[in-house]
């Protein structure tokens, strides 16, 4: 498993009339470069180069694919095309736009507009490290997700699901726009049920039905992920993953710690979106938008003394567990 990642194309390589400036990021599906065209305009170019299936030596242009991996490589290429197709049909400020698609170096490239800023995940981590009671202000959360939901609604209108919504895939630009990126998991599923390949998932943000084969996914699957993103924006950490929740659901408990900090309505929205039963969630983005924009007269319920004591007791118990574990380790060490 200690795998060598395929090496990225070096700066100043020319591909499809664009000059590569540098690598921006690399993921399981490929490498994203910052590149400029001959007019000096900047673009983000995504290269299909799955690290588990293809290799490329330093300084080489062409990736090598092992013969036994070829069919998986081609299959991955198909979903790269799916991503291109999905994005090509959508033109919305909250959805990253694809501008060109071309073939070179025996692989394919997707040209997208280059966004400057950071992912929501970066912002959450920075904000939570300030150790304030609130990670983000409630009004920030509401307006951020209102913007995301507008984009998501368009995505769903095109009979597509994103299926990998998470803070790392929500980009916040320096000019304060929220943009959904990385539609690598997106599939045109709303139209052709039964012909569905289970896509990728991210624990914590993936709805329970993503883990099951029999159940059907729908807008409610993306809505679960939106709820989990709002949760992460309030708590600073992602929620427990769905299998853990099915075993023992601590969602209400951890949300109750936020009572008084965030309004009851926002907490209820998260709980609604993240219902384990798909039917209990908002069934469409529109339904969720309506609830999220009901901002009149926020109600804050403070914790009762009893509840506060119980919460404190919980943290004492978990502290004791930690101490016990430490003692255990020392025992092994000095025996």
């Amino acid at each position: 498993m200690s795998k060598v990642k395929p090496s990225p194309l070096p700066p100043d390589t020319m591909i499809g009339g664009y000059r590569i400036e540098r690598k921006l990021s690399a993921g399981g599906f490929g490498v994203v470069y910052l590149a400029v065209d001959n007019e000096g305009q900047q673009f983000a170019i995504k290269e299909y180069l799955p690290s588990s299936l293809a290799s490329r030596a330093v300084g080489e242009l062409l990736p090598q694919v092992l013969p036994e991996k070829l069919s998986l490589y081609r299959l991955g290429l198909k979903s790269f095309f799916e991503e291109g197709r999905s994005l090509a049909q959508i033109s919305h400020g909250s959805v990253v736009s694809v501008l060109n698609f071309f073939r070179e170096n025996e692989t394919v490239y997707m040209v997208m507009n280059y966004l400057e800023g950071g992912t929501l995940q970066d912002f959450i981590i920075t904000a939570r490290d300030l150790k304030k009671p609130k990670v983000f202000r409630e009004s920030t959360i509401r307006s951020l997700f209102d913007e995301i939901l507008r984009g998501l609604r368009i995505v769903h209108q095109h009979k597509m699901l994103h299926l990998d919504i998470k803070p790392a895939n929500i980009f916040i630009t320096d000019d304060n726009r929220a943009v959904m990126i990385d539609f690598g998991a997106a599939r045109e599923v709303l139209s052709k049920e039964g012909n569905f390949i289970r896509p990728m998932y991210t624990p914590g943000f993936a709805a329970p039905e993503m883990y099951r084969r029999d159940s059907s996914m729908g807008p409610w699957t993306d809505i679960y992920a939106i709820g989990a993103c709002i949760y992460a924006s309030m708590q600073g950490y992602p929620p427990n993953d769905a299998p853990q929740r099915i075993e023992k659901d601590r969602l209400s408990l951890s949300l109750s710690r936020l009572r008084g900090v965030y309004s009851d309505n926002l907490i209820e929205v998260v709980q609604w979106c993240m219902a384990l039963d798909p039917l209990e969630r908002p069934q469409s983005v529109f339904a969720l938008q309506k609830e999220l924009s009901r901002e009149s007269a926020r109600r804050y319920t403070k914790l009762t003394v009893g509840e506060r004591v119980r919460l404190q007791f919980d943290s004492v118990v978990s502290d004791t567990k930690k101490t016990a574990r430490k003692a255990n380790v020392l025992g092994t060490r000095f025996k």
Binding site: M1, K3, L53, A88, R103, D164, K166, T202
Partner: protein, 300 residues
């Protein structure tokens, strides 16, 4: 879950390599095993192999995709291995049982649990420091720890192992939380008999496990000279403590390389894979570019 792992076993100056090692994993859990078949008894290499096979087979049954109680699992799997060795000896009508020492670890949920029996060791190294290592079940090590007052003894004398008629002493520890960059190493006495802990920790910390393991084995063989014992090292580096996990592939995850086929559910993936020829690729690209132009036209 992401980690790098590297393992290497060399025969040294012996006629036979009686060490065995191996690992397997699911997408959320990993098992690492090292067994050192004992000399002075018959078929040490068989005992080591049986222990490895038994534990990994039980793991593959239990890990779906995680083992529900790693400590309990390790205890019962190692005991099962012990009984399997005894059965093997009985079936073959052997006068003396084959024996092996063993160290095994289960890593899941960003923490590690382990078991050891005899003098195969587990080391845990963080930021260049030895965080912990197992204490051998040998009279020498017990004496060092001040637990008994015997005369100086041969380090090779163990008071427990798998395969002996007496029930083995298993020392189980964990779960112990891992941090990014932590290195977990299992090794046979061929390594620690020739190198001291400081040397082991230094070599293990300064480079990736894929380089550190061969370097460690090489140093031990050099130090052990022409009669060097078998040297076996299995090390892994923990790479993902990230609270924000990366996207994972679904059940047909191709990165799992089939080392653990039983949990892979590859249905529905390969069936449509072969219809994407060059003409299709060109057509897809043309379609996408046409869609891009249409969207751009709508926008303006």
């Amino acid at each position: 879950m992401k980690f790098s792992v590297f393992q290497l076993s060399r025969i040294g100056g012996r006629a036979l390599n009686e060490d065995r090692m191996g690992y397997c994993y699911t997408r959320e859990s990993g098992l690492f095993v090292l067994a050192d078949g004992m000399g002075g008894h018959p078929e040490g290499e068989v005992a080591a192999q049986l222990a490895l096979d038994t534990i990994s087979a039980l793991y593959q049954k239990a890990a779906r995709p995680i083992v529900s109680h790693p400590a309990e699992f390790l205890a019962s799997a190692v005991l099962a291995a012990h009984h399997r060795i005894i059965r093997h000896a009985a079936q073959k009508g052997m006068l003396d049982n084959p024996r092996t020492t063993l160290a095994a670890a289960v890593v899941q949920g960003a923490s590690v649990s382990w078991v050891h029996c005899g003098d195969s060791r587990l080391y845990l190294v963080r930021n260049g420091q030895l965080l912990l290592r197992t204490r051998d079940h040998s009279f020498l090590e017990q004496e060092r720890a001040g637990l008994n007052e015997l005369e100086p003894v041969n380090r090779n004398i163990l008071f427990t192992c798998l395969g002996s008629p007496a029930k083995p002493t298993l020392e189980i520890a964990g779960p112990f939380a891992l941090q990014q960059g932590d290195r977990l190493m299992l090794c046979s006495d061929g390594l620690w008999g020739s190198l001291n802990d400081a040397q082991i920790v230094a070599q293990l910390s300064c480079q990736s496990v894929s380089k550190a393991v061969p370097a460690l084995v090489e140093s031990a063989l050099l130090a052990g000279g022409e009669h060097s014992d078998n040297v076996t090292v299995l090390a892994m580096e923990w790479e993902t403590p990230d609270e924000f996990a990366p996207t994972r592939l679904g059940p047909a995850d191709s990165t799992m390389d089939g080392s653990f086929a039983s949990t892979l559910d590859a249905g529905g993936f390969d069936t449509q894979a072969d219809d994407l020829d060059d003409a299709m690729i060109e057509r897809s690209i043309a379609e996408i570019n046409a869609a891009i132009r249409r969207s751009a036209a709508r926008k303006t």
